[in-house]
Amino acid sequence: MQREGYAGNGAPRVGVYICHCGTNIAGVVDVTRLTEYAARLPSVAVAREYKYMCSDPGQALIRSDIAEHKLNRVVVAACSPLLHEHTFRGAVDAAGLNPYYFQMVSIRELDSWVHTDRGEATRKAEDLVRAAVQRVIFHEPLETRRVPVNPNVLIVGGGIAGIHAALTLANAGRHVYLVEREPTIGGHMAKFDKTFPTLDCAACILTPKMTAVGTHPNITLWTYSEVQQVDGYVGNYHITVRRKPRYVIEDLCVGCRECIEACVYKEAKVLDEFNLGLGKRKPVYLPFPQAVPLLVVIDPETCIEFKSGKCKKTCVEVCGDRGAIDFKQTERLEEVDVGAIVLATGFRTFDAHRVPYYGYGTLPNVYSALEVERLVNASGPTGGEVVLRDGRRPERVGIIHCVGSRDENYNIYCSRVCCMYSIKLAHLIRERTGAEVYNFYIDIRTPGKGFEEFYRRTLDEGIHFIRGKVAQVSDWSTQPEEQGKLTIQVEDTLAGLIRRIPVDMVVLSAALEPQADAEAVRRLFNISCSTEGWFLERHPKLAPVSTFTDGIFLAGACQAPKDIPDSVAQAGAAAAEALALIDAGSIALDPNTAYVIAADCSGCKTCIPLCPYHAIIFSGETAKAEITEALCKGCGVCVAACPSGSIRQHLFEDAQILAEIEGILAAVRA
């Protein structure tokens, strides 16, 4: 089994390096005993322990030992290989030894962090180190595969995160395909009036960026579109995008809105999605005046032409020679090749109907915070007037924090932005109406730049803060002052008493939740989700915008609840990561591909249907299986299935895995 490597080594000489990781490993595993144990294993030339193997001196230790002790195999027992395998392969490579003459053992994540018994943890570490030493003997020198990288990038989601990532990449001269499922980009931010804590006008900072996306020569913007299929792999993704019909020809429509005026519906009758149903629109509509692209959409659900086919089609008439309206438009598919993907699919707000005792949906003057964002917005359904559904101006307003967050019944996590947006809304409502505003909170969380200052400012403005989780919002009165009002019943945990506070308007500060279809999107892109459904980053600290699928990055609130500054920062990071990937021109892939020992292949074809990538073909000429290395992703399914053992896999050879099994169990046999 053993073959000569390029380092020119006959008998294996293994160097074993045990990391203390400060006290992370050494606190539980007896590293000295482990090192002594490793030193006695057959083929081990040198075994050492060091405080931090991944540090510069730690790596230098490996490099100098390779030269001095003529090591031809290296084993490092430290943290997870998913974290530092790359680092140590680099160190081995730098010393002139093939980087694949290396095996990493996790004695931190798989041992010291999960066990408490020092003796048992050390025994386990011994088993694992012995397995690695036995395995590494069977390692062979391999060459990293390099594949070219397509320089284009796909960005999914046109909220502030997707917009920022798109502009960053486009400004760097890369071509971006930005796919948004709504008819316009802008996302949640386009709905806001002011942003905390600076009270910047959201539209003033967002709409110029939206326009830049719409006009940028390096951005192909596909709104009202969804990604339907993702094929390929890092550097070489093939994407199919489904473009829903908007029944308006994009190249011809200039956004003049004459068709909206001319529509046979004289009054807007359809609930307007952009205003969360607080306003009305017509069947032909523009989501909002600053929409990008500035193109109308026809809603076939409500358009008379679609329902009866007997409309006078005044819209077509008024569009005239431009001829932008096309009732026969159908769904189209676009296919593009990209090297990297940024997911910026955002969040949805918690549906407050799920908390029946707060009266959302049954008591008319109970609003969700997002609805109130629209009410305070100058371009909203009321032109920025904060008024109740009957047109009255509220004199007393209660804002209930943590609706759906920090609640065992719904989501246990903190949605992170609600305290701040609640305080912002309190400020805006008081500013616009002069109302008494009460905030009902569990804890006020203001850990961002300028957040605490903003909170203190609102305290000075006379906004009330009551610590306590609201038990109920009701419209029945027990006191004369509660008549005709909504009563918020709450335990004031600072005063230590139950209070009933009558108000005219209740605002529910709803949690941020993963998009309803996050699970489907996750599967489409083959990435992971946390248990709550947020897209999972590769490492919370070291790779916060990467995913476990190479070439796919995360930006914004699809990863976890986030405010605008954090979403933008993350989008910039994701763009930079994508840029680093595509600008390299080619990417190194682990050489863990399968290959056929032609002499042993019987031509049974068992393997051929097993490969999901069609990497195995049956050669009519030789009557044997052949693997196209460029297509192989290295899963090893065919290797395990080959009846004659003629398919093998680099880095995961049978001999290597069997040696590992033997090493693990050597002590059991004793």
Partner: protein, 174 residues
């Protein structure tokens, strides 16, 4: 290389089951890492071998693990539909169904081979599965296939047995 190498320290609490675990790189191994970073605690009985896909687990590996003294074998892969390699985990599932029957014929009880779908976010499930499996193997007791094999070998090489004619053995009811 010697057949075995003893541990540096003696075990204080007598026999403990040994589990050989094959975890796929993308889901279950990552979940085990998460269990680690979350500092979840579970029994130290499992030894993990990382493979890229649970579909790489050759039934031979499992048989080999039992033959070399494992009391249980645990295979962890991505949930159905979530395989990083499209459908490697389905292939594992089918292979294991067949292997289970073979193992039962060999006197290796069902709970000794366990297949679990554990996604990258399910660190808690890694801890729970290893805890449960360790408990069930403690109840089952040692498999000790190497010892059994030695005893079987000893039986068939008994000079009296080897020399005795078939009819005689039949008469003795052997």
């Amino acid at each position: 290389m010697p057949d075995h190498q003893e541990h540096t320290g003696p075990r204080e609490n007598g026999w403990e089951p040994t589990i050989v675990a094959f975890f796929c790189n993308w889901c279950t191994y990552t979940a085990a890492d998460l269990a680690g970073t979350s500092r979840l605690k579970y029994p130290p009985n499992a030894r993990v071998i990382r493979v890229m896909c649970s579909g790489r687990v050759d039934p031979q590996f499992i048989v080999e693990a039992f033959a070399r003294g494992a009391d249980g074998v645990l295979i962890g892969g991505c949930h159905p539909g979530d395989c990083h390699y499209v459908e490697g985990n389905y292939k594992t599932l089918r292979r294991m169904a067949l292997l289970r029957r073979v193992l039962e014929e060999m006197g290796i009880a069902q709970p000794r081979l366990r297949l679990e779908w554990i996604s990258a976010s399910e660190g808690e499930k890694v801890a729970r599965v290893i805890r449960e499996m360790t408990e069930s193997l403690r109840t089952l007791g040692p498999l000790d296939l190497p010892g059994r094999r030695r005893r079987w070998d000893a039986e068939v090489t008994l000079p009296a047995v080897a020399a005795a004619p078939i009819q005689e053995l039949a008469a003795q009811g052997r």
